[in-house]
């Protein structure tokens, strides 16, 4: 059966230490609890968590909601956003079935990226392979003013969300938004809607403002 893949790319660099990382952990837990009550998501959504600091790791491979266990996260090191994108493409190629003339593939993956700082590796080098893959919705979240919005726009186009500060309120609001997006998209994929731009997503919650370039 066709699945709806969802990748969460989470910055766990040193600057996320403390309240931000705890809030992210809570955010993923809340997301998971909420999606369990959505029959469309329970049927077809699969979640993966990729973390990046100086190293990049697919902490949780694409896993159906009912078998997903929210991960423990620790913050330290740099911000290898470029490496994270490369890993994302590798995982998607590996885990997401594309259509062939005789077999239906999965839906296009949704990607949610959250970072609070300046990348410490070469994002531009990772971009061509990232852009060559056919994603569904890609949303990037700049948590706090230290995040490099320009880089995130290269990745996510207009779908960049800004958090004024990376505190528990704003991070939990972001995860609420991710939850609604996944729920809406799984319903919509179910409802035959088109995947694509920000217009398909629910309005962002009041704690987050849409970055205007």
């Amino acid at each position: 059966m066709r699945k709806l893949p969802v990748y969460l790319l989470i910055d766990v660099s040193g600057s996320m230490y403390g309240e931000p990382i705890e809030s992210v952990k809570n955010g993923i837990k809340t997301l998971h609890t909420a999606l369990r009550k959505e029959p469309q998501a329970m049927e077809m959504a699969f979640l993966s968590v990729i973390t990046f600091e100086s190293n990049v790791r697919q902490l949780i491979p694409l896993t159906e909601i009912s078998k997903f266990r929210p991960p423990d996260l620790e913050a330290s090191g740099g911000t290898s956003l470029g490496g994270a994108l490369t890993e994302l493409v590798r995982c998607a190629k590996n885990e997401v079935a594309t259509s062939t003339p005789d077999r239906k593939g999965d839906y296009k993956p949704m990607v949610f990226i959250m970072t609070d700082g300046e990348p410490t590796d070469d994002v531009d080098a990772a971009l061509p392979a990232f852009q060559a893959y056919k994603w569904g919705i890609v949303v990037a979240c700049a948590a706090g003013h230290d995040a490099n919005v320009g880089v995130l726009q290269k990745i996510a186009g207009p779908n960049v969300l800004m958090l004024d500060v990376a505190d528990s309120n704003s991070i939990s609001a972001f995860f609420k938004f991710v939850t609604t997006s996944i729920a809406t998209t799984s319903k919509k994929v179910d409802a035959g809607g088109q995947e694509g731009g920000m217009n398909d997503l629910p309005p962002p919650p009041p704690e987050i403002s849409l970055f205007k370039s």
Binding site: M42, S99, R103, D190, Q194
Partner: protein, 502 residues
């Protein structure tokens, strides 16, 4: 947190908590609050409504509602429809007051399992998806085949009533119908989007799995060339829902690849190229079971559970819905067709001999040694079959296309006895009591007459034998019974099959 008090047009006072402006529930276009007495949900449209939408709501809560609920037997519809009762205004915002759903439409405790669903609405998708049904619906809330037939019948009656009132739902889907297979109940919700042909056009084209192929196929065209939701498209949605509740799979979602782009694929497989996965004449959209499909079994295996297992009456309608009528709206079965066919199908039910069978019942397959398709258990009991005959003129009785398959303690009802009585919403409760029952004692079958005053055994037509109330008559091969004197009464001819020596 404070209490908001509003007065509806008719003076009814509505009280609900404002939850500091963040509603306890958010739908697609409405914010939902609950009244302090917990009797109603108050749903406000987030956008300001235009005058046409206002007018439509006004008619839905008044004229259309009264046409359905304020007639004889109106109470019957209170369970099937969650119908908006009043319009309320708060500033520029418009809201509707909708009765709270019955408790049975919310998941209860699972009795030892994981209770993560407790308190959630029993949205249809939990039951129509094989994976959700297999893994997440608590065992004590799954219901059985009889329950699912009743769910489908309730839905059919709801749709029939809307159509008889000149309305179309326009967005029937598992989202807009709550079900309780344990009690065999269904409730149609989100009625505020009703379509009135020629008066109020549809707001949305519907929900993917349920949009009729002609609507999907023309959705990208200019306004005057688009096919819009109407009663005919409701009938497609109803057929899909019935198929999904009975088989936990979608009738059009097979293996055929029309396009390698997932979105175009969806548009084609539900639209222009829609093809029944079990179409006997074109097998190109058959579903094959894949290695990672375990959570969806056995339901998605059409070899193991083909649609014909629901018996001849439903098979005929599925053929009409998904073969003849799939691209030809006028051929689709009506809601009344479904209602009648389900009633007749219930007369073919047999209790599975396997106490652990998930569906508990199966539909008699007209074979001499019936096997439950859900668990593979053979039915070893002897099996009386009643074939019914009725007459137009009074002397010649003609075989009807209906049977009653007998098991121990099965009841006989007035709708079996008289051809002009139907077990539907118009029948008064006092006519719904058993008039007799079948009983298996010491290797013999009997019919026990409970209330029929003029029942006769007419096996020997020259010598009819009266069967008094509280009397019993042995049921054996060739026995012929006339239930009552009236011309509207049926005659039953009895055959026995599956006997140990047959």
């Amino acid at each position: 947190m404070s209490i908001v008090k509003l007065t509806a047009e008719d003076g009814y006072i509505v009280e609900f908590e404002d939850h500091d402006g963040s509603p306890p529930k958010q739908g697609g276009i409405k914010d939902v609050y609950f009244t302090t007495d917990k009797k109603y949900a108050v749903a406000f449209y987030r956008k300001k409504l235009d005058s046409v939408a206002e007018e439509r709501l006004e008619r839905i809560v008044n004229r259309y509602r009264k046409n359905i609920f304020e007639q004889v037997g109106g109470n019957y519809w209170k369970e099937i429809f969650c119908w908006p009762e009043r319009v309320v205004k708060e500033g520029t915002k418009t809201g509707i007051l909708v009765p709270f759903y019955d408790k049975k439409f919310f998941f209860g405790p699972s009795n030892g399992g994981d209770d993560f669903l407790e308190g959630s609405e029993k949205e249809g998708k939990w039951f129509t998806s094989a994976k959700n049904f297999n893994l997440f619906v608590p065992v004590n809330q799954k219901g059985d085949l009889q329950g699912y037939l009743s769910v489908c019948q309730q839905l059919s009656r709801g749709v029939k009533k809307l159509h008889m009132s000149g309305l179309a739902h326009s967005d029937l889907s598992y989202k807009n119908c709550l079900v309780d297979p344990v009690t065999g109940s269904a409730c149609i919700i989100d009625i505020d989007g009703l379509v009135v042909p020629g008066l109020f056009p549809p707001d949305v084209i519907g929900t993917k799995d349920f949009i009729a192929p002609e609507v999907v196929a023309t959705a990208h065209l200019k306004d005057d060339q688009r096919k819009l939701p109407c009663q005919d498209t409701d009938l497609h949605a109803l057929s899909v829902l019935i198929y999904e509740y009975l088989f936990h799979r979608h009738p059009l979602e097979g293996d055929k690849v029309h396009d390698q782009d997932p979105e175009i694929q969806l548009l084609l497989e539900m639209g222009e190229k829609a093809l029944f996965i079990e179409n006997p004449f074109d097998t190109s959209n058959r579903k094959t079971v894949k290695s990672d499909d375990g959570d969806f079994l056995p339901w998605i295996d059409t070899n193991k559970l083909p649609y014909v297992i629901t018996g001849p009456y439903l098979k005929e309608l599925f053929d009409k819905a998904f073969i003849k009528g799939l691209h030809n709206p006028y051929e689709r079965p009506t809601a009344d067709d479904w209602d009648v066919a389900i009633s007749r199908t219930k007369d073919l039910l047999l209790p599975c001999s396997n106490k652990k069978c998930s569906m508990k019942w199966f539909i008699y397959d007209r074979k001499s040694a019936p096997v439950c398709p859900y668990c593979g258990t053979t039915y070893n009991e002897s099996l009386p079959i009643l074939d019914f005959y009725s007459t137009k003129s009074g002397d010649k009785y003609v075989l009807e296309n209906r049977q009653l398959i007998v098991y121990n303690n099965l009841n006989l009802y007035l709708w079996h006895v008289y051809k002009n009585i139907f077990p539907n919403e118009t029948l008064e409760d006092k006519f719904k009591k058993p008039v007799g029952h079948f009983s298996f004692q010491k290797n013999k079958w009997y019919f026990v007459n409970q209330t029929l005053g003029s029942m006769r055994d007419i096996t020997d037509t020259n010598n009819p034998i009266m069967i008094p109330i509280n009397g019993k008559v042995e049921i054996s091969y060739g026995k012929t019974l006339k239930f009552a004197d009236e011309n509207t009464s049926r005659i039953a001819y009895i055959r026995l099959t599956n006997t140990p020596h047959s």
